[in-house]
Symmetry: none
Subunit: 219 residues, 4 copies
DNA sequence: CATGAATGAGGCTTCATTCAT
DNA sequence: GATGAATGAAGCCTCATTCAT
């Protein structure tokens, strides 16, 4: 696979596919379509959902769809970008007040669980993204990881986190978040029980904090 | 979502969909089809791959497919089961000689990277599995996690690993494996560089080993 | 075989399969399809006729078919119902002015010959109906017989027809109509010659009229 | 439609399609296939039954079918001819001892009911015959009618039956038999109740017997 | 004789997209 | 702006028939 830089992708994706509405009435239709798409793709998966499903759900005519989106793929991309923004800002908000990075990590994961519980579809959507448009999928995680790594780097500079490769750490933490969220919010539709969360947080904490003897850490 | 027990699923999936060949000639065809399916699904994704793609690749007529598989879905399920078995036994073999659990963990991840590099398709296949047959996807990870947790439990009993919730730990480790494998073997087609691996292993080691003060651990 | 009441069947068949058009343009297409179906099924028989045959004949695209009918079977059922209505009202009209039942019977058969000559397909369609949907076939004849028997019953009350089991009589008369129509309009494409018709009418007349001695008749 | 003479048809159909077995073992297989075909075509109808259905039922391999029959159609034709022979000889036997034609008519119909009850499939098979091979269907009824008419002609000469067009009469009687058999043996799986049969027989008797005044009869 | 394997034409159906109103 | 109609490519699948063993 050969991926562009995440930002590069965004720039490419910027222009195409979507025709913004010009009137108030148009805007309402546009939003109804996007909303319907989230529901339908969430229930059915990209390939098994049809455009008629979406227009029916939105309560508009079939032709109307193409007034705003150039293709099925385009509304999907639009949707992923929208949700990506939502997760990140949601987590951001939940973390904001926590000063220490290690504690922020825990808060972030907790927030991710909460978000996942509300948007169980998100999971399916991202999964589908790979098949539909690998670049989109790549961008989704890579841009996430980048921001993550930057925050970790800063924490290392402040001495809150052991000094190691921040990107590797970012992928570890994302993997933990995603897989534990799969186990509980997605599969069981519940927040994980205390013992489970306790273990997860304990594992992360021990893994992140600077050890006294510093073996294996960079200076 | 409401999933059955992993073993329950296996039993269900046992019977249907596949018709085993009765002659030597038939067996060869059967295998060619399975092999072709792995390639095609790897390249294209479940929904965009067609049965003709598979039969063409296998060099057999279109109707031949239906001699052995009742539908596209059935060959897919068969494939996943096949690959699941392959990964697990591959990793098992690589770990066998390592006595210490923490070191075995590292060896296991390293093995997973190697396997992923060889079967980059596996990644896509499992992803698609969710859309195609959620139970299959659930079974894939859940049965993996179960075995994982058992090994961890044993290690805890031997005092090699801190005594915490083994299942939670299993999902953490799986998440780390999968996401770091995505970053390098899948996206870059290479084994991760030493610094990356070092960080990952360090993180895991610190997270697993019993701490001297035992805070947060069960007795 | 286990058949529902004819009316019951109609009610069941009411709902499904057909989507009525919403615009004038759509209505024209719908009718063209129905017309084409009659021709094609008449020429080829249900199983050997394909949907493409129908859409080609109708001069529309293949997909258009599914805008109005859910399946081949559905257009077939629709057609039979349509033709059933046509025969009955055609015969009704031809009989209307004849006051005496025995003469009406002759007029009815004559009318049936005429109709059959125009719609030789009808014959084949009804035959196929058994294979396609036994209930439809049952309904076709049973509802016919029911109306028939009622008319005969009334004639018995007026003393025009010997008082016997009206239903049995109805099936006798239907059998005669159908088989003699087969012999001439269907096989030869002609109305039967005078001598043939004379014999048929004579047979019926003698069979229906109240005999002077009343042996075997109910009071 | 343009039909050949019934005998002409038979001669045509004589040669083709069937390869008689040469050994004892072969004969057994041949018969098993024919038997299986009757069952399967009876249950499913010609077009919906597949050759695999037949070979499975017969317990032989798929290829074996073509050792004895050149095509699906050929076994069907063979079957119809076989059954046609069966009905006629069965009825013949039942009528044999009845001397008077009018009584023989009743006995014949009764026999037809009995046969139909045993071979409900016959009904479906003949129906299908039209679609599969119109000539076969034509032959089936026409040859039946021919023999029928001859018997009636003889009875007219003996003064037992009114002198009218014997062929017309034959089709009337066949129609009555077939439709009343449909009403009871086929639809209800029972012999008709006494009142029903009484009416049918009364109708026929009155229609057949020479009237005192001879109006409408030939000299 | 017998059989399982193999085939490919052809049927039904779906659906993203374009048109006409 | 909006909508229902129309399209046809493309996919899945069945099955009569032919082959190879």
């Amino acid at each position: 696979m050969n991926f562009q830089d995440p930002e590069e992708f965004l720039r490419l994706a910027e222009d195409s596919g979507v025709t913004l509405p010009k009137t108030k009435r148009g805007e309402a239709t546009f939003n109804r379509l996007l909303q319907a798409a989230e529901e339908v793709f969430g229930e059915k998966n990209y390939y098994e959902a049809s455009i008629v499903d979406i227009t029916n759900r939105a309560g508009v005519g079939q032709g109307t769809f193409y007034l705003y989106f150039k293709s099925k793929k385009d509304i999907f991309v639009e949707l992923i970008k929208h949700l990506h923004h939502e997760v990140r800002s949601f987590i951001q908000r939940e973390i904001a007040q926590v000063s220490n990075r290690v504690d922020a990590e825990k808060a972030g994961i907790e927030a991710f669980y909460k978000f996942t519980l509300k948007h169980k579809d998100l999971y399916k959507l991202i999964r589908d993204a790979e098949g539909v448009e690998p670049n989109l999928w790549y961008w989704y995680y890579a841009s996430f990881a980048k921001a993550y790594a930057e925050r970790l780097k800063a924490a290392m500079d402040r001495g809150e986190v052991a000094r190691v490769d921040p990107e590797a750490l970012a992928y570890c933490l994302m993997g933990i978040s995603v897989f534990t969220a799969m186990r509980w919010p997605v599969w069981e539709g519940k927040m994980p029980p205390g013992e489970f969360t306790g273990t997860v947080f304990g594992f992360i904490t021990k893994g992140l904090v600077p050890s006294s003897d510093k073996r294996g850490e960079k200076k």
